[in-house]
Symmetry: C2
Subunit: 304 residues, 2 copies
């Protein structure tokens, strides 16, 4: 590991600490922003689903994309936190017995195991709802038109045309393996949409031009695809101890992946290509884009 890598990983880690602190504060029993009753058991289930030591990759992308284009850090942090609530809600619901039926996540019992199914359903619902609360709240220092853009882009990335629709396609794929185009669509929706949103959100926060916004969006698409290919590689190469969750499940369920279709060697080379394409997209920003380009490399090369 060279010094550049170490410095990138430190930056990612410091970001995770900052995001975790914000979410911990917002989901605390004593949160100042909330003047209403919040049932403590449901709040605890929400915390269990969110405060789990994740890498906070999506908030990192929001914050770094916003920084690249001159956006306000505090606002980007809060939008990153909102996005993380959406990501974590999707994990809580995906882990349910009626969906992927997973008992473990990051080595810890999933929410419906630690609490119960009803609490997991409601905790997911509440996290999704809370994401929009965070964006719209007066504490998020952004002009109203940017907040509206963020609500629209996030709801489309998370909804039936994005992540939730992708999960529906993924469940259907257990019964009938999709073709290559079907796999690409499924993955662009299920995991790609939120990652693409993360990068686009940075541009919205910064009030960027349409050209900058499109560039960040396309960069997000490259990272999203790289993330998924790396994930599929990990599913066949890593063991459960490294991942903190069950592995080999995709193959066991007969789910189609690009790696299953084209092999490991193709996947490695496609990942290298995606890093290049992501870098080329951000070339106009020169040195300023180095953190985001490092992120693309990190996502493609991650081993857990």
């Amino acid at each position: 590991m060279d010094s550049k890598t170490i410095s990138f990983e430190n930056r990612l880690k410091e970001n995770a600490t900052e995001v975790e602190a914000l979410l911990g504060r917002l989901l605390a029993d004593s949160c100042q922003e909330s003047e209403v009753v919040r049932p403590s058991n449901l709040l605890a289930a929400m915390r269990h689903g969110v405060l789990n030591g994740g890498k906070r990759l999506r908030p990192f992308l929001v914050i770094e994309s916003s920084a690249l284009l001159g956006g306000n850090h505090e606002a980007a942090l809060r939008i990153g936190g909102a996005l993380e609530c959406v990501h974590c809600y999707s994990l809580v619901h995906d882990d349910l017995p009626a969906m992927d039926d997973d008992d473990l996540r990051r080595g810890q019992p999933t929410v419906h195991i630690a609490f119960d199914e009803a609490s997991a359903i409601l905790a997911g619902d509440s996290l999704l709802t809370y994401a929009f609360d965070i964006i719209a709240a007066p504490e998020t220092d952004l002009a109203a038109d940017r907040k509206v853009e963020l609500v629209l882009a996030l709801s489309r990335a998370a909804g039936i045309g994005g992540m939730a629709g992708g999960q529906a396609l993924d469940l259907a794929a257990e019964k009938k393996t999709p073709d290559e185009q079907g796999i690409l669509t499924l993955q662009a929706m299920k995991t790609g949409a939120l990652i693409r949103f993360a990068c686009e959100a940075g541009a919205i926060i910064a009030g960027a031009t349409a050209e900058d916004r499109l560039r960040l969006r396309q960069f997000g698409e490259k990272i999203g695809l790289a993330f998924q290919i790396a994930d599929d590689l990990l599913d066949i190469t890593a063991d459960a101890a490294t991942m903190g969750k069950a592995t080999g499940k995709d193959a066991a369920h007969g789910k189609g992946t690009l790696v299953a279709l084209h092999g490991q060697e193709w996947a490695e080379s496609r990942l290298a290509q995606l890093i290049d394409e992501a870098g080329a997209l951000l070339a106009p920003y020169g040195e300023k884009a180095v953190v985001l380009i490092d992120t693309a490399r990190f996502v493609a090369n991650r081993r857990n």
Copy 2:
């Protein structure tokens, strides 16, 4: 039934037709507003949860509250549609086996029966998400600051401090019957919050003064309470055929209600009192408020 009642019920019915038409268009496979892939099976599950012939009371309250204060009808209709998506998502999730475990709703199989549990979870998630899409979409002709107010008020009415939190308290009430204050809090959150939001939303759409907004909010609280007392009365007096769903479940589950606590006679008199209080709140608007006051009466006296 006198002619005034008939005319009110016609108005409510015409509203339901208009809301149903909007939601049918937005959730159609061919919807023009959506440029993305929407998996048809998930979309069908969403339609099943929404296009069920409901009275559309909440959209009616949005539209009439907005009309009272001079708001734009088309915008109010869309916000009403968004609210109905949130209401219907909550029914889809509440009916799940891990929650209230209901097979019938309005005489039809619930979403997890007509489709499957995973589809019902995802359809609910997607309806909740879509509500925020509708509010933020360019097709909703409202200034950005009003959209942000609506997103904030709706997310708080629907989330852990509102409806979802109320459902968590309701599930907990099956194990330990709450006291009177506990019942009031639970009901204000579980059913009251969305009804209160409906009335407040009308004021936000119309860009009303803080005073008007507070008055509509308080009116919404009265209707919300009346709605719940009427519901609790129906649970003990109506039969399943009238309701199109299982009745007597609250008593069977030992759930505390104000009716169980104080009796049927008290409930009838409290409903009459709430109609008076609701009417007094809107007295400053004179004749213009007659539809909303009729709505309070309708909610308190409804028998299905």
